[in-house]
């Protein structure tokens, strides 16, 4: 990887990192219960071969793999299910083992789902595995996406892979929805009914669209065979194809790494892909499979026989989709009814349209374009292979948390009825509270997160300059008590000082008025960029410069301040520019 690197403020520290990479190994200790089992069964030792050096880097790099392995589990168990599932809405009467449904009329799809659950050996376990793995797939994606976002792993050259990831997450959600709709039970039918409503809310073309998809009036006899082909053929093909591309790009770009001694923008510290990676991948696959199987053996999911067969005249309290569709359903529950109105004899259902046909594409579009927006604001066209610590980009982190808070409010609004009975609250009050929170939560969480990040950065500065509290209280001759501070070793210090501060355009470009006080003529887009840049980077905490560090170490307080004044960069210096007269003396 070749990049033109600009020397950074704390570059000298990297030299230390390079000479003595690798901290002394620490002996792992096991919790007592686990240790007991390990000594007798050798559980962990047995896995050691497979898992040797599994996680050289960081546990958060595993989140994507949880998604990957859950997807594979879905593919395997799904294939098993296709052997018995009958994707037909043809009518039949149940005569199987489950007494409370004997003699009840239902579709063949629902009957075959009951048969898989009650007649086929191991069928219920496989069904539950398939569904739990599907949920874990999307949890994995969501957490993986959050990891990539908050560490800035989406920056050049990985923007395209971020876009691929966004598409993957959308496909995963659609795949999940299609699967959830197949058994034709009361809940899945209610879900399809909602989907029909979404489509009908499209202005002008809504009715035509619904008739096309359902082959006539809802529910018709076509929707389940159609969803089936989408679920077992079309979407998996797209998912596997895009996923392969996603992983190939990870290989091409090489994996990012967290900042640490010896880790530079031009290397990757870790273990060779072969054979360690193969063992690692295999081992972790078995862990995910094992845990999912354990959950599926003990916890029921989607007990379709409890819900009953779908019948358009029936509905049950507590009808919710799987959690990944919640935000849309929740938006519908929060949108006020007056958004539906009639003009010239046609009905415009904006109360549904906004929360579905508009919201769904909007969320994924915003996610997809974010890297490009951030790049445009920073103007940073360099490659980045070292991850950001989330605190070192406070506004990005805060924007992410605000977005998550908004999404969570919408998602929780979907379970307003469950919250009402479980917490003894009025559903009307909950709705009002969520409507308010939808606007308040992002603002408050943005503010708190940003302040928290800045405070953490200041704490880092403090630690670097004054060392960490040693826990030793010293009494001086005059009787004053003071806590000893222990200087950080270079390995600990490096991650705290390595980042480069991004300064807002108003500082690097100079003020908006020229020397004569006449405002500069700038393009609209540039003015927008300047204000966004201020929004992101006006409040910031700069990393400790070598001069500051040297001053803090060698001289008393007073002298330190003088030293800082002499040596430190002028406030508006171009990032990375080496100031004259910088020196560093080792002690």
């Amino acid at each position: 990887m070749t990049t033109t690197r600009v020397p950074q403020g704390a570059d000298h520290l990297r030299r230390h990192g390079r000479t003595t990479a690798g901290a002394p190994p620490t002996k792992p200790t096991l919790p007592p219960g686990v240790g007991w089992a390990d000594e007798r069964v050798g559980a962990a030792k047995g896995m050691r071969f497979l898992l040797n050096k599994v996680f050289p880097d960081h546990w958060s790099f595993l989140l994507g793999e949880i998604a990957m392995y859950s997807m594979i589990i879905c593919l395997i168990t799904g294939t098993f299910l296709t052997f018995w599932f009958v994707p037909s809405m043809g009518h039949t009467v149940y005569d199987g083992q489950y007494a409370p449904l004997q003699g009840v009329g239902m579709s063949e799809a629902y009957k075959s789902t009951l048969d898989i659950s009650f007649e086929i050996k191991g069928g219920l376990l496989i069904r539950q595995l398939h569904h739990w793995a599907a949920l874990l797939f999307i949890v994995g994606i969501a957490l993986h996406m959050a990891r990539v976002f908050f560490t800035g792993a989406f920056r050049k050259p990985r923007e395209i892979n971020w876009v691929i990831g966004t598409v993957l997450s959308l496909l995963a959600v659609i795949e999940g929805f299609a699967g959830y709709s197949l058994p034709d039970d009361l809940l899945s039918g209610t879900g399809i009914r909602a989907m029909a409503g979404f489509m009908q809310s499209a202005p002008v073309i809504g009715t035509y669209m619904t008739f096309m998809v359902f082959g006539g009036e809802f529910p018709g006899e076509l929707i389940i065979p159609r969803l089936y082909i989408a679920h077992v053929l079309l979407l998996p093909a797209l998912l596997v194809g895009l996923f392969t591309l996603h992983i190939m790009l990870v290989v091409v770009h090489k994996h990012t790494q967290y900042p640490g001694p010896g880790r530079t923008n031009d290397n990757v510290v870790g273990f060779p892909l072969l054979p360690v990676y193969t063992a690692k991948a295999g081992g972790f696959f078995f862990i995910v499979f094992g845990m999912t199987a354990l959950i599926s053996a003990f916890v029921a999911i989607n007990p379709v026989w409890v819900f009953g067969p779908y019948d358009p005249t029936q509905v049950t309290a507590g009808s919710q989709p799987d959690f990944y569709m919640w935000f849309s359903d929740g938006a519908l529950r929060l949108l006020p009814g007056w958004l539906e109105f009639t003009v010239f004899g046609t009905t415009w259902s904006f109360n549904i349209f906004l929360g579905s046909l508009l919201l769904l594409p909007l969320v994924w579009t915003i996610a997809g374009v974010y890297p490009f927006v951030e790049q445009w604001i920073t103007g940073d066209k360099r490659e980045h292979h070292i991850l950001d610590r989330p605190r070192n980009n406070p506004v990005r982190t805060a924007v992410g948390v605000a977005a998550i808070s908004m999404y969570t409010v919408l998602a929780l609004a979907t379970v307003n009825d469950i919250l009402a009975i479980k917490l003894n609250l009025s559903i009307n009050d909950i709705t009002i509270a969520f409507r308010t929170l939808f606007f308040v939560a992002p603002v408050v969480s943005f503010w708190i997160t940003k302040r928290l990040c800045l405070a953490l950065q200041r704490a880092d500065r403090d630690k670097v300059l004054h060392g960490r509290e040693a826990g030793i209280i010293m009494r001086s001759a005059e009787g004053r008590f003071e806590e000893e501070h222990e200087e950080l070793d270079p390995y600990t210090r490096w991650p705290l000082v390595q980042y480069e501060p991004i300064r807002p355009l108003s500082l690097t470009e100079g003020p908006d008025v020229n020397e004569r006080g006449v405002s500069r003529r700038r393009q609209m887009t540039h003015r927008l960029r300047r204000s966004m840049s201020d929004f992101y980077f006006a409040d910031r905490v700069e990393p400790v410069t070598p001069a500051e560090l040297a001053a803090a170490h060698h001289h008393g307080e007073q002298e330190a301040i003088e030293a800082i004044e002499q040596h430190s960069d002028p406030v508006n210096a171009i990032p990375g520019e080496v100031p004259h007269g910088r020196h560093h003396d080792d002690h």
């Binding site: 219920l124 053996a297 309290a317 009402a420």
Partner: protein
């Protein structure tokens, strides 16, 4: 000798103790929980004059402040009970809903608040019955779940009840803090009477809507769920549908996997 104290201090001992404690409290609670009367009541139409008279006295002492001395109603304090029938009185009083403890959005079921003997309830029911004809307490033959058809009951339940009580009978929310309660551990008589009298926000399902035999089917369906007839596949997570699944997967599910990964990673390096 030295082993025991060491064992007592180990964290496993704490877990075992905690589990034991929880199990024992649970069992004790179940044992002491006052059970609602199970035997069906005699028909109020057959009540004697003394029963009605005793019932009137009980009513005057306990109910008249809200329902009026002749059960004709007392403004907003309580509605008229003329014509509500013995079934309504038995349902309201023996589930602990009446006498109303405090005004609220809905009178809650409260088995521990039942301060009347079965006989006293019968007497009050007979008194209210004597004021005007209404649904009588159900006949025993319609309360025998073993004679009902749970499959037909399930169909009726999903059409008529599931929108409020959930298809698994686990309850649901209504507007402004009202709710349809969970139907587990409700006696057959109370299920029948609830359908027949439609307490509070619940609609009345008279014998033209749902015949007595069909009511028995519904009872059979609810009792089948209660006895675990639908619990396959493991823990039901409170029968809350996808909400329970979501809570589980975002807490235990993902924590289990990440935890296992981190632990094995630590162990192997």
């Amino acid at each position: 000798m030295t082993k025991l104290p060491a064992l007592r201090r180990s964290p496993i001992a704490l877990v075992v103790l905690l589990l034991l404690g929880l199990t024992m409290t649970g069992t004790a609670y179940a044992a002491f929980k006052p059970a609602a009367p199970v035997n069906p009541m005699e028909q109020a139409a057959n009540a004697s004059e003394e029963d009605i008279e005793t019932g009137r006295k009980l009513f005057l002492a306990n109910c008249a402040s809200c329902h009026g001395t002749n059960a004709q109603g007392n403004g907003t304090a309580g509605p008229s009970l003329v014509g509500v029938g013995a079934a309504a009185v038995d349902f309201q009083v023996s589930t602990g809903r009446m006498p109303l403890a405090e005004p609220g959005v809905q009178a809650p079921r409260n088995a521990r608040a039942v301060n009347f003997s079965e006989e006293e309830i019968y007497q009050m029911a007979a008194f209210v019955h004597s004021l005007g004809p209404g649904p009588d307490v159900p006949e025993p033959e319609y309360l025998d779940a073993s004679q009902g058809d749970p499959a037909n009951g399930g169909k009726l339940f999903r059409t008529n009840c599931a929108m409020c009580h959930n298809s698994s009978g686990s309850g649901g929310a209504l507007t402004r803090g009202k709710y349809a309660p969970d139907l587990m551990n409700v006696t057959p008589a109370h299920i029948y009477e609830a359908m027949q009298t439609g307490p509070q926000s619940m609609p009345v399902f008279n014998d033209d809507n749902i015949t007595p035999e069909e009511k028995r089917d519904v009872i059979a369906f609810i009792k089948d769920i209660e006895e675990g007839g639908s619990s396959y596949g493991g823990h039901s997570l409170g029968s809350l549908g996808p909400a329970g699944d979501a809570l589980f997967v975002w807490t235990f599910g993902i924590a289990l996997i990440i935890g296992a990964a981190v632990w094995l990673g630590r162990k192997a390096s």
